[in-house]
């Protein structure tokens, strides 16, 4: 039989459709599950299962809609607007749009890299991410193919782009009306986001020599105090390594690393260090304005994503030329890609132009170091900085009238006027505390009626702590290798490793970067596996213990309990999600290709992995979280996350919501609420730690695993909330589930709750929701049961 392009269904194999795409050496179409390349409603049944248990909770930031010219419509109290959509529908539509934006960002990043890398290395360049057979877990699970070369990702991105266009169409007025279906589509966008990120990171790891599953990747320096400001300084801002790679190559070739400092802000920094370990990291987006205003950078190189919109404006004031290297951010600058390097440099040095769009990577590589040498000399001689000098500072703080307008405009509500008062009396400590809590947004500058440039004042007062801001971060290792999964998968599924906690996302923390360090330190000491990426991975490395060691120096980077891993930049988040697929595949032998629902069902019921985006701000972070949710991974965000306007919250008091099937015979088993929520916020770090521990429970835990997880849940709650959790007993199935050290007192408490205890045998006779059954095969998908009971 000759196979032609198209799709066919095999009789008797209900739900199995085999799609034949491009057949040949480039792409192996070997779907094993029913949903390769799922269309927009291809996984809707799975989404409904999620949404029926984890109900969307909407917290609108506004009660009106102004999407079309019928509006503005007042939707307060869930009223309908002129088109018939109500506030619930509109909120769900916003969730979809947010997910689409995030997914588009990562996928467009992937597209930019793919086009560039194919041009440079050819379509047949082999994928190599380290010691793995399952090299592209998300691609396999979603697409049903096993990519071997970077060219194999062409149809993957085409699929993502086509699906995203379909999803964007849905957000137009007069399209979808059901909030449930908007959410199913948002989950689809989230999944596409994971796929786009995987493509982007696999191709850059493969082509650009990034660490490949390297648990011993070297350390990079990080912090606002690491650069020598006397040298010319190049700062790259954004997420895309393509242009900075050429700058690093040029500097390497010409031996310039001793003469010029080069560092990155935001995820570009991650990938610069993955590309060349000599590069350094300043920090997250929160540091952009602070660092530019310090006047230290002599050249700013921008690419894409999380680049502040006012960078050119700010840079201009300090005569820092901006080189925009990506079409997505051009700041109205002239495109100088076809001009000679020397001409461009002349125009920038003479301030004829404040910056240039430059899309020719070779020229960027040549121009930036040269420009830095020239600008460095000029700028340092002039001592250009936006920060006030000591005299100016004294006058500025004395101007504060304590009107509190700045606090009202500050997204963190920071007590700025108190710090001003203290500084008048020579005490800078309040400002130093503010420096870490301040997200560097600059909103306060606009608000002060006395005309105090508040952020500059905070930064001036914090020079002492800024100079000491020198941390270490283990360079992004990329994927978790198959051998590591083989070693650890069992512990995870049985629960004897209490959980995987993924610290991801941005720097919009509710109470400073130190929180993230504190949470990681507490949880890693309890043997959780900590995986990090993006700005969270950077902030973890910013603080030191008494011996002067950062967490990366204290804890190794293997995927085993009590280790701290950094996968890399934002797009390497894909590997964190993909780790759960690897567990399902490598440890449990589940088929991956085109088999999303089964894999996600496995992850949700068995893999104790939780994402925490404590400072999430971007649409990208929301999309990642939503994608993780579709894969069955719960996500917790900080309090600012309520402004994402949608969460997925379980209701433990609704017993029927927690019915699962036993895959052995299809019988219904009422289980404990595990995981209890899929997307939720917490107010403070003290609240979030017990919550994280709780969200690691899974129905598949064996007794030893459950006892370990329960120990941490109880201890964290007692330590940080000063109470035994109200619901601890729900997670007890028999006496062996109880923490060993507290077994008797806890059994007494259970007896007080009406449970029957045989004290002689020290056994629980009656009380638990269900028994422990080591062979239990929890699933939410009826077709996965061997024999479905009628």
């Amino acid at each position: 039989m000759t196979l032609k392009k198209g799709s066919f269904v095999i009789e008797e194999l209900e739900n199995v459709q085999i799609n034949i795409g491009k057949i040949g050496a480039k792409e192996e179409q070997i779907a094993e599950g029913p949903t390769p390349r799922p269309e927009i409603i291809g996984l809707r049944n799975w989404d409904y299962r999620i949404l029926d248990r984890y109900n969307p909770v909407y917290t609108p930031t506004g009660d009106t809609c102004d999407y079309c010219t019928y509006g503005k419509c007042d939707l307060t109290g869930n009223k309908e607007g002129a088109c018939g959509i109500d506030l619930e529908g509109q909120s769900a539509r916003q969730a979809l749009m947010t997910s689409i934006m995030g997914a588009a960002c990562h996928s467009a990043h992937g597209r930019h890299l793919l086009n560039y890398l194919i041009k440079k290395y050819g379509e047949d360049f082999k994928i190599d991410v380290g010691p793995s057979n399952l090299q592209a877990p998300l691609t396999e699970t979603i697409m049903g193919i096993q990519p071997k070369t970077i060219g194999d990702f062409i149809p993957v991105l085409e699929y993502v782009e086509e699906q995203l266009t379909q999803l964007i169409a849905i957000t137009n007025t007069g399209q979808e009306g059901s909030s449930r279906d908007f959410e199913s589509k948002a989950l689809h966008a989230g999944m596409l986001d994971l796929l786009g990120m995987e493509v982007a990171d696999i191709i850059q790891i493969s082509c650009l020599g990034f660490p490949k599953s390297d648990e011993k990747a070297p350390m990079a320096e990080i912090g606002m105090g690491i650069l020598d400001p006397k040298k010319p300084v190049v700062i790259c801002v954004g997420h895309n390594i393509a242009a900075p790679a050429y700058i690093l190559d040029n500097m390497d070739k010409n031996g310039l690393f001793d003469k010029i400092e080069i560092a990155g802000l935001c995820c570009t920094a991650h990938d610069m260090t993955r590309y060349n370990k000599t590069a350094k990291i300043i920090g997250s987006m929160s540091k952009e304005l602070k660092y530019i205003r310090s006047g230290i950078p002599d050249v700013l190189v921008t690419d894409e994503q999380c680049v502040r919109a006012d960078i050119l404006k700010e840079a201009q004031k300090l005569h820092i030329p901006v080189i925009a290297t990506n079409e997505k951010i051009t700041y109205g600058l002239p495109d100088r890609s076809n001009d000679s390097v020397d001409e461009i440099i002349d125009d920038l040095v003479s301030q004829k132009q404040s910056g240039a769009v430059l899309l020719d990577f070779e020229k960027i590589g040549e121009l930036v170091p040269k420009l830095a040498m020239k600008m460095g000399a000029i700028r340092k001689a002039k001592g250009l900085t936006a920060l006030p000098n000591d005299n100016e500072f004294k006058k500025l703080v004395a101007k504060c009238t304590k009107c509190l307008q700045c606090t009202k405009d500050c997204p963190q509500g920071l007590p700025i006027s108190d710090a001003m008062t203290a500084a008048v009396n020579g005490d800078f400590s309040l400002f130093e505390t503010l420096h870490d809590k301040c997200v560097g947004c600059g909103r306060c500058d606009y608000s002060c009626p006395a005309g105090i440039p508040i952020l500059n004042v905070i930064e001036k007062a914090s020079q002492r702590v800024i100079r000491e801001e020198k941390g270490k971060m283990r360079i992004g290792r990329g994927q978790i290798g198959d051998p590591e999964i083989r070693e650890e998968g069992r512990n995870l599924v049985l629960g004897t490793t209490p959980g995987v906690l993924a610290f991801v996302g941005c720097g919009n923390y509710p109470d400073g970067t130190k929180d993230v360090y504190d949470i990681v330190e507490e949880m890693i000491q309890r043997s959780y596996i900590i995986i990090s990426s993006g700005c969270a991975a950077m902030d973890i490395g910013m603080f030191k213990d008494k011996e002067g060691k950062t967490l990366y120096e204290r804890y190794p980077g293997r995927f085993v309990k009590g280790n701290l891993l950094n996968t890399g930049s934002c797009v390497s988040n894909a590997h964190i999600a993909a780790t759960t697929i690897k567990v399902a595949s490598i440890f449990a032998g589940r088929k991956t290709k085109g088999n999303w629902e089964e894999i996600a069902d496995y992850v949700m019921n068995r893999v104790g992995a939780v994402g925490i985006a404590w400072g999430a701000y971007s649409q990208k972070a929301f999309a990642i979280g939503t994608g993780c949710n579709r894969l069955g991974i719960p996500v917790v965000v900080g309090p600012h996350g309520t402004k994402y306007r949608r969460a997925f919250i379980g209701k433990p008091y609704k017993k029927d919501d927690w019915n699962v099937l036993d895959g052995r015979d299809g019988s219904v088993v009422n289980v404990e609420p595990a995981p209890e929520h899929l997307m939720i916020t917490a107010e403070t770090k003290d609240e979030v730690m017990p919550l994280l521990a709780k969200l690691c429970f899974r129905p598949s835990d064996n007794s030893l695993g459950r006892a370990i997880k329960l120990t941490h849940y109880i201890e964290l709650s007692e330590k940080y909330l000063k109470k035994l959790p109200d619901d601890w007993h729900i997670y007890v199935r028999n006496e062996a589930d109880l923490p060993v050290a507290k077994r008797e007192p806890l059994m007494k408490l259970l007896e007080e709750k009406g449970w029957k205890i045989d004290w002689e045998k020290k056994k629980i006779i009656e009380g638990p929701l269900r028994k422990v059954d080591v062979s239990f095969q929890p699933t939410n998908v009826p077709r996965l049961c061997k024999e479905v009971k009628k």
Binding site: N55, Y58, G62, E687, K722, P725
Partner: protein
């Protein structure tokens, strides 16, 4: 010394006006045409006194001793407390009917008529709150504003547009005084 005297530093009465500065505490937080009515403390006080099953929600900002003292006084009148964020650590040993809850989950449950409440005795007819991170509370109660019928009153130091009623933005001494006036309305 009575709490009021502690604040004033003397035994004289000061008339406070909690309806001033009734603009969203965070300048940009303007949700829409329906924003909270600014009220004097007697209004929430009387409503709390009249409610059959009121719920007081407090959060991480009750760490201030003056504020904490008022939470305890309110709790001692028998009002059930949902202690959100990490606030339980301040309340656990005070002998109150206080229960830890996650704020976000609590909002979801209050919107659900089938929720049995914190103690299994059913839902609530009034929500009053204070001492919660401003933007967090503001966002969370937007769920109640738009997707539930329950009355929500802020007695926090911030003007909360998403509540049905709220104080304006208050300086600390006025805030404490306002809480005392709310407490005065309640049966001892």
């Amino acid at each position: 010394m009575t709490p009021k005297a502690q604040v004033m530093g003397q035994n004289e009465e000061k008339v406070i006006d909690t309806t001033r500065q009734a603009v969203p505490f965070n300048t940009g937080n303007i949700p829409g045409p329906k924003m909270a009515r600014a009220v004097m403390p007697a209004v929430p006080g009387k409503m709390l006194a009249k409610a059959k099953r009121p719920l007081l929600i407090v959060g991480s900002e009750i760490d201030d001793p003056d504020v904490l003292a008022r939470v305890v006084m309110l709790g001692k009148t028998g009002i059930q407390i949902a202690s959100v964020g990490d606030s339980y650590k301040y309340l656990g040993d005070k002998g109150l009917d206080a229960h830890y809850m996650n704020m976000h989950a609590l909002m979801s449950y209050i919107c659900d008529p089938q929720w049995p409440g914190l103690d299994g005795k059913g839902g609530y007819d009034l929500v009053v709150f204070f001492g919660i991170t401003y933007y967090y509370a503001s966002q969370a109660i937007s769920a109640l504003k738009n997707f539930s019928k329950i009355k929500v009153i802020s007695i926090d130091k911030y003007y909360h547009p998403n509540a049905d009623m709220s104080f304006g933005n208050l300086k600390k001494d006025v805030f404490i005084e306002a809480l005392d006036e709310v407490i005065e309305q309640l049966p001892k």
